[in-house]
C-alpha cells in the first residue's frame, strides 16, 4: 500500500511539472489562438535570469519576481516585433516561427551560460513528511499548491473578468474584436506577456528538480503538449488534471502492468490521448468549437 501511495504522489509531483508548462501554453492559446512551442525555451531563459540574479546575491523570491517581470517584457516584445508579422497569415507559419524561437532561445542560453548543469536553489526545503507510509517531499507539495493557485487564478481570469473575455475575443476573432473597439494589438501583447510570466514561474518551480540546462524543458514540453491536448486547449483545470493523470498513470502502469514496464511507460500518455481524442476530440475538459452558418 505504501508503495502504491508513493507512486501516486510521485506521479502527481512529476505531473505538476508538466502542468506548469501546460498552463502557459493554454494561456497563449486562449489569448492568441496559437500553440507556442517556444514556451519551454522562454521558461528556461527566465529561470537563467533568476539563477543569474541569485548568483549575484539577490534573494531567491526577489530573483524570481525579476525573472517574471523580465519574461513578461520579453513575451510582449516577441509578440510585438516577431509574432505580429505572422498573425494574420497562415497559422502553420506562425507555429513554425515559434519552433524557430525555441531553437534560438535555447542557443542563446547555451551561449550566455554554457551547457553545464547549474544548481538552482529550491523555494521549498528538501524535507519530507510521512503520509500513510509514503514519503512526500515538501518541494512536491509546494509545487503542487502553487500550480493549483495559478490554475484557479487563470480560470477566474478567463471566466470572471472583462480582461479575460477580451483576451478570448481577440483570440477567437481578431477582426470582430477590433470592430467592437478592443485594442487587439495591446491585448495580444498582454496575452504573450502573461504567458511568458507564468512560464517564468514554471521555470523556477521545476529548475531545482531538473537542474538548470538550456535543454531542461525539452522533454517536459512533450508531456506538457500531451496534457494540453488531453485536457482541452481551453481549460486550465483540464490541463492540470490531465498532467496529473499522465504523471500518475505512467508511474502506476510501469510498476503494475508487467507488459508495459519502464520501457513502454513513455507510450502511456500517448495511447491515452489517442483514445480520448477518438471519443472526445475537444479533450477531456475542452469546449467544442461551434461554427454558426
Amino acid at each position: 500500500m505504501g508503495t502504491f501511495i508513493q507512486l501516486f504522489v510521485d506521479g502527481l509531483s512529476t505531473g505538476s511539472i508538466y502542468a506548469a508548462l501546460a498552463l502557459a501554453i493554454v494561456l497563449v492559446n486562449q489569448a492568441t489562438g496559437l500553440i507556442n512551442f517556444a514556451q519551454g525555451g522562454m521558461a528556461v531563459l527566465a529561470a537563467y535570469v533568476a539563477w543569474w540574479c541569485v548568483s549575484n546575491g539577490v534573494p531567491l523570491i526577489l530573483a524570481i519576481l525579476v525573472s517574471v517581470l523580465f519574461s513578461f517584457a520579453l513575451g510582449a516584445v516577441i509578440e510585438r516585433y516577431v509574432m505580429r508579422r505572422f498573425e494574420r497569415g497562415d497559422p502553420d507559419t506562425a507555429i513554425v516561427v515559434t519552433v524557430g524561437l525555441l531553437t534560438l532561445i535555447t542557443g542563446v542560453c547555451g551561449w550566455l551560460w554554457s551547457y553545464n548543469n547549474q544548481q538552482f536553489p529550491s523555494l521549498f526545503p528538501l524535507d519530507t513528511v510521512q503520509v500513510l507510509g509514503a514519503s512526500i517531499s515538501v518541494r512536491s507539495i509546494g509545487t503542487t499548491i502553487v500550480i493549483i493557485a495559478i490554475m484557479a487564478l487563470l480560470q477566474a481570469l478567463f471566466i470572471g473578468t472583462k480582461f479575460g473575455l477580451a483576451l478570448r475575443a481577440v483570440a477567437v476573432n481578431p477582426t470582430s474584436a477590433a470592430f467592437s473597439g478592443l485594442p487587439v494589438g495591446r491585448l495580444l501583447m498582454a496575452g504573450w506577456g502573461l504567458a511568458a510570466g507564468l512560464g517564468a514561474v514554471a521555470g523556477a518551480l521545476v529548475a531545482p528538480q531538473l537542474t538548470l540546462t538550456p535543454g531542461m524543458m525539452d522533454n517536459a514540453l512533450v508531456y506538457a503538449l500531451a496534457a494540453v491536448i488531453l485536457g482541452g486547449l481551453s481549460s486550465p483545470i483540464g490541463v492540470v488534471v490531465a498532467a496529473w493523470l499522465i504523471g500518475v498513470l505512467e508511474n502506476l502502469a510501469a510498476v503494475y502492468i508487467p507488459f508495459i514496464g519502464y520501457d513502454l511507460k513513455v507510450a502511456v500518455p500517448f495511447v491515452l490521448i489517442f483514445v480520448v481524442l477518438i471519443v472526445r476530440p475537444q479533450g477531456l475538459f475542452g469546449r467544442k468549437a461551434v461554427v454558426r452558418v
Binding site: T211, T213, A254, V255, Y262, V266
Partner: protein, 417 residues
C-alpha cells in the same frame, strides 16, 4: 539570339565538365589515407599536423563535450608554445586542432567527419557512442584513424572489427566489473539493487558487474530496473528499488540531473544504501554535493585519473599548471566539473608518445606506433593504472581503481565498507 543561346549552351557544358572534373579531383584526393609509400598522408606537413574532433559543443551533453576539446587543446597549446612535437622522422611539428559541434547527433557527426576527413590527419577525442559509431564505417573505408575516442563501447577496441579505431576510456564492462569484484571480496553479505540506462551503456555496466560477482556467495542482486535516457524523472524506479531493502545500489546512469534527483529521492524515501556510480556521472562538485551524497554510508566510483574538482587538485603544482593551460590555450576559465578535460589532456600525452615514435608521416605508421604503447604513465593517472594500447579488445586505458567519496573528493578504496 541563336548565337546567344549557343554561347549559353557551350558555357553550360564547360561548367558541367569543370564541375565533374573538380569532383573527380576531389574524390581522388579525398580517397583517404592510402597514400603511396613514403608520401605524406593528408593533414600532415613538415611543420604541422592537424587533428579533427567532432563532439557535442551544444545540447544536453555539451558540458563534457566542451571539456573533451578543452583538455586536448590545452595540452597541445602548451606543447606548441614550447616549440612543438619532435617526431620520429626528426621533424618538429606544431599540432593544430579543428573541432566541430555535433550536438550529440549522429548525422551531424557523420557530416562533420565528411567535412574534416581530407584536411585532418586523424580524428580523435570525440565524445559519445552513437556519434562515434555514426562515422566509424566511413573512417575504416577511408583509412582515416579514429583514435582515443571517448566512448566505453568495446567495439572501438576490437582490431578485427575496427582496424582504424582505438578507444581511450575503459569500456563499461571494466568499470562494472571493478565494482562487482570489490563487493564480492568484502566480508559481509549484500543485497544489490540496480538501475541502468536502457541501452548499451547500461547493459555494459550491468554485464561487467555480474561478471565481477560471478561465483560470490555473499552478493545477491535483489531487484533490477531500467530507465530511458529521455525520462524526466526516475522517482517511480527509486520507490520500487527502495522497497527491495537493498543495502547496495548500483546506479548505472549517464544523465547528470537524474543522478542528482536520484540521490535526493533516495534520501526522501529514507533509503540509505551504499552507491556505485559510473565514472562520468560521479563528479563531486557537479553531482554529489547538490545531491547531498554525504547522507549515504559510502558513494563509490571508478577512476584512472585524478579529479580536477577535488579540493587539493588546484593547489598541486601539476594541477595549477593544468588549470592555467586550460585557461590560456583552451579559453576554459573554470575548474572543470567533468572528468573529460583531464582525460583528453591525457590523451594528448598519449598522442605525443605515438608521434615521437613515427618514422614516416603516414596514417599507417601512426596506427602502428599508437598500438605499441604500454606502461605509459600519462599526466594525472592514478598510481596503479597505466596506458596500454597493445592489448586487442581493450581501450588505451583499461585499468581502473574503485574510489570512495570522502565528502570533498575521492580516495582509492582498498576494500568495501
Amino acid at each position: 539570339m541563336n548565337m546567344r543561346k549557343r554561347t549559353r549552351a557551350v558555357l553550360g557544358v564547360v561548367a558541367l565538365t569543370s564541375a565533374i572534373a573538380l569532383t573527380l579531383a576531389g574524390c581522388s584526393r579525398g580517397g583517404g589515407g592510402d597514400a603511396t609509400a613514403g608520401a605524406a598522408s593528408p593533414g600532415i606537413t613538415d611543420d604541422s599536423i592537424t587533428l579533427g574532433i567532432t563532439t557535442p559543443l551544444s545540447g544536453a551533453t555539451a558540458g563534457p563535450g566542451t571539456c573533451t576539446v578543452a583538455g586536448v587543446t590545452a595540452y597541445f597549446g602548451a606543447v606548441n608554445a614550447a616549440g612543438g612535437v619532435t617526431f620520429g622522422d626528426g621533424k618538429t611539428r606544431k599540432v593544430d586542432i579543428k573541432a566541430l559541434d555535433d550536438a550529440y547527433d549522429p548525422q551531424k557527426a557523420k557530416a562533420n567527419y565528411d567535412q574534416l576527413k581530407d584536411s585532418v590527419f586523424a580524428m580523435t577525442a570525440g565524445l559519445g557512442t552513437p556519434t562515434n559509431r555514426a562515422y566509424r564505417e566511413a573512417a575504416i573505408a577511408d583509412k582515416v584513424p579514429q583514435v582515443l575516442v571517448m566512448t566505453g563501447d568495446p567495439l572501438f577496441s576490437n582490431q578485427q572489427e575496427s582496424p582504424w579505431q582505438l578507444g581511450f576510456v575503459p569500456i563499461y564492462q571494466n568499470e562494472g566489473e571493478a565494482f562487482g569484484k570489490l563487493l564480492a571480496s568484502s566480508s559481509g553479505t549484500h543485497k544489490v539493487a540496480i538501475l541502468s540506462q536502457n541501452d548499451d551503456y547500461g547493459e555494459g555496466y550491468v554485464e561487467g558487474f555480474k561478471e565481477g560477482i560471478n561465483g560470490a556467495s555473499n552478493v545477491e542482486v535483489v531487484k533490477e530496473l531500467t530507465y530511458e535516457a529521455t525520462d524526466t524523472s526516475v522517482d517511480a524506479q527509486l520507490t520500487e528499488l527502495a522497497a527491495s531493502g537493498a543495502d547496495v545500489f548500483f546506479n548505472a546512469m549517464s544523465i547528470t540531473p537524474l543522478v542528482i534527483s536520484s540521490l535526493q529521492k533516495a534520501q526522501q524515501l529514507n533509503w540509505l544504501p551504499s552507491w556505485f556510480l559510473p565514472s562520468n556521472t560521479s563528479s563531486p562538485g557537479a553531482i554529489l554535493q547538490p545531491g547531498g551524497a554525504t547522507a549515504f554510508p559510502g558513494v563509490y566510483t571508478v577512476a584512472f585519473a585524478q579529479s580536477a574538482s577535488a579540493p587539493d587538485f588546484a593547489t598541486s603544482k601539476d594541477g595549477e599548471q593544468f588549470l592555467a593551460d586550460l585557461k590560456q590555450y583552451a579559453n576554459y576559465p573554470d575548474v572543470p566539473a567533468f572528468p573529460h578535460c583531464i582525460w583528453s589532456y591525457q590523451l594528448g600525452a598519449v598522442l605525443q608518445q605515438a608521434f615521437e615514435k613515427m618514422t614516416a608521416p603516414t596514417r599507417d605508421d601512426f596506427m602502428t606506433q599508437l598500438r605499441s604503447i604500454s606502461g605509459f604513465q600519462a599526466p594525472f593517472m592514478l598510481e596503479g593504472t597505466a596506458v596500454d594500447t597493445t592489448k586487442d579488445g581493450l581501450p588505451a586505458v583499461s585499468s581502473v581503481l574503485v574510489q570512495k567519496y570522502n565528502g570533498k573528493g575521492y580516495a582509492t578504496a582498498k576494500s568495501f565498507g
